[in-house]
Symmetry: D2
């Protein structure tokens, strides 16, 4: 696997020279100020080794990547009953589209578009105060990454809360169809906070191990093998918003992106990968992160579609 | 692999007893008259063995499954230039929706919805008479299955042509945006005929080998490894219309369904599978075929998401 | 004009016998509890006479009819600059559709759908506290009806505020496009309160005089002749949600309906009419109110399309 | 009424000087070649007088204005049964949108969008060969205008037929829902031919008299008073595609525009007006024609919303 380190270093070097870095998200100041020159990557392999390159130790806002962890928690809480309130199909629309909700009576298409993740936040509120639900999510991520230093960036959360009018619209719209059990404010409070978790690539790759390892993380079983497969399938079909088909076509591994520029990739049986570069492509996914994962998957023959 | 025969037999026996067989497509008489009690399955493994069970030797109308073969041919003809005229994203809509075409100016979302396949038929017409283009497709399928007896059911083709008003609408709509180079009638002629190819499960499983075997079929290279991976990725994200996410979630292998009740499944490096049962579920995919593939993938641990 | 009294009495008698009374709006208890047997009608003619029949002296929630008055006030404040933030076209969609807002980047189609009226509430907030803006609207209606006893039903307003999730969604959605200058909460506060104004048919007919009289009400000029014409034109094309075309076709006079079962009709140069019956038809307009106005317009030859 | 002649002359002079003439439709050569400098206007008053100015005696392609005449004929044939197959609501969409047809299962929103007019052409085919149906429409227009010299421009019809892919799409789409009784080709043949009727402003104003005169034309009753009112109401709410609300707001008279640059306006009890200028505004209606009608309606106080 010293090959892997060399490959990561080569990719990092190539990415440093590219000028097509996409656009950094700027809807809140905390994201807009990030240096677009950043690039980091980390890989944990099934034998427990960790490889890093570039800015792999600098924390960033994981944003929508957190939806993988809240989905996992929600499935643990309510199991397949979840699928009565959230679909499992790609959306065919931008991540914050409200059109589909009108056509499908308040049922979001999948757990990775914003509306779906807000429903899941609502699920995680059951029997909890928002503060407790947020704490549970954070502790779960800390446990997965085996790292208690992971925190929520409260400035980011506050900023999202102050300006996230479209998410407020989505939540209230679903509430009007009865698909939120708590008040939109509470569900959004949980949602904005888990999106504001800050992690570095190394922590994120570690947190994703259970999906690559048949549900196990560091010897412990987090979810069943079947559930790990199914969450991975959802990542492949829905993990990159309206660029999910393209990511599957070009990269060929399950992944989940965030507007902070991170992507978590899962190679079943082989590796968990986290990459970060703040500039986004047209579909809202990390421009260089996507390219780096394409390079890595090809070099390692990691495509799940490979014979 | 005698296990595999036993598993196929068990699945066939289970399917014979199920009463939830879905609805047989009835928009043309030739499809509506098929006995809903039929069920067949065939598997070819990477070592060249073929296993069958049930009605695996009875020909059926492959319909949209043919789109996998026309996509392969079109990529061979024009390469990645194809993607200027067809997208690679799941549609988030029924297979014959015209709404998306209005929003995206005549560019169909992917090659497996009807509009996308009509564009591909138009690509295959370049430099050809319709009869020649149809002949080329048929010969390609015969070559892949190594079986010259495969034919087009001209009664089915004629019936589709006489009643396929919505497909005529789709073709003319795209033509109005300039995304057909030939007349809608010609492109539709090719489309209706390749959808009317009749094959049995055994032939279909053989024809799908190249996708499971890194682009090779019976020792010959049909497409590059990368292209085989990419076509498989499109099958996973878009192969079951608006039920693609659910199929990936439950079954976990690339597949393409047809309204005749067939499904072609691809297990990279392991097997090509064809299943047939005429009753369709709500998304227009074979009801028992989907369940049978779920059983088979679980029994053989064939999910591409498995660690 | 004693004919007119006779006609109103006949219409009232006919309406009393009809059993097809539509469905009373029930999304808040205050509306759902209204007796569906109620029917009232009032007409003020251009010579100042007032005719009433049935329950014309019983107050009801005017709801969306109030949008005529807030539009008039907003045009007085900002003039044609208003049309940069609100369109003038029929919506082709239900009154609370959010789809159109996505397609048209947060600009509502007209001032009479909910989204449009919320923008207008935002306009009326300029330089005001919500309480002041609400007071201004109420005083304007009292002035038009020459009746200081008209009040806001605060229980209705509170109930709308507690359950109006879809309106909250609309407001936040427009805010995300920058088409609200104040917070969604403030604009909604004004909106919910002016919808909760309670009036009887007689008061409402009086309040509508200025539109029938070329902008004048009781000798005073409220708006210019041109503005009165234009507001009337908007009522005709957009005043009955997605039933506006049908109302123009059958009744042929400008009108604005409310979910409380009221309709304000304007006969240019002749009369202002208010009718009330709580049961609604499929488009959300008063079932008997529409029929009564059709009868009245025919009997009086009041259609603006009559030669 | 010598005032009227003076007003027409002044308007014509003003229009001659304007440079904002819109864009001439260019989707077929026959329309694209028209001189954008043309402007003509004609008015017939209820006392039988005819006033003209500018290029009022030059024939142009009436295009969608013909839909007023085919609607009148179809209502004469099948009466209110027509409304089971065509709606009466503004579309809230461009004139050739197919989205609405998907949502409303093949029922076009109104008789003046293309889809609606194709259904009406289908109605007029009942018991007829296409040639006969086309002949019936032409004779009806000749009768209304009292002018046997009016003809169909067969070059225009042939050109529309050769390139009208979107209309072919609309027709086939409705056929797929069962809302055409004849083949799409036949209905489209009738549609393309009646759109290709060529008339000058004078002829068109004469043909529109019956709508302004309570259903009577030259002493004969063409339709009942009620039907004349109702057709006028449809013109007001739906006659200018997605600019209908704006036309009602600014001009205030029922009108129907065509992509050839003509508009037929109806002033109930007063006048029938035809105006022609080939350049179109953003909504596809004659740019100068709309402005000229606004000027005329204001000068003559012809708004149907005037007190």
């Amino acid at each position: 696997m010293s090959d892997l380190q060399r490959i990561l270093d080569e990719i990092t070097a190539e990415m440093a020279e590219r000028s097509d870095r996409g656009e950094v998200a700027s809807y809140i100041p905390q994201l807009g100020e990030i240096d677009p020159g950043k690039f980091g990557i980390a890989v944990t392999t099934s034998d427990g080794a960790v490889f890093t390159a570039g800015d792999a130790h600098e924390a960033f806002s994981i944003q929508s990547i957190s939806k993988v962890f809240t989905l996992t928690l929600a499935l643990g809480k309510v199991g397949d009953a979840l699928w009565k309130r959230v679909g499992r199909e790609p959306s065919g629309n931008p991540f914050n589209s409200i059109v589909q909700l009108e056509r499908e009576a308040g049922i979001p298409r999948n757990p990775f578009i914003n509306a779906g993740a807000i429903v899941i936040a609502d699920v995680l509120l059951a029997g909890h105060q928002p503060r407790e639900a947020i704490g549970e999510i954070l502790r779960f991520v800390q446990y997965l990454a085996d790292d208690d230093t992971i925190v929520i960036d409260h400035e980011v959360a506050a900023s999202e809360q102050a300006t996230g009018f479209r998410n407020v619209a989505l939540a209230n719209y679903m509430k009007s169809f009865g698909n939120l059990h708590h008040s939109p404010e509470l569900a959004l409070g949980v949602y904005f906070h888990h999106c504001a978790i800050a992690m570095d690539c190394r922590q994120l790759a570690l947190a994703g191990r259970f999906l690559a390892n048949g549900g196990k993380s560091g010897g412990y079983s987090v979810v069943s093998q079947e559930r790990a497969r199914r969450i991975s399938a959802l990542m492949l079909t829905c993990g990159h918003y309206d660029g999910s088909g393209d990511f599957a076509f070009r990269v060929g591994i399950p992944g989940k992106s965030g507007v902070g520029g991170g992507i978590l990739g899962v190679v079943p049986g082989a590796a968990s990968v986290a990459v970060w570069s703040p500039g986004l492509n047209r579909s809202g996914n990390s421009q260089l992160g996507s390219i780096a994962l394409e390079r890595l998957a090809r070099a390692m023959n990691w495509s799940i579609f490979a014979a």
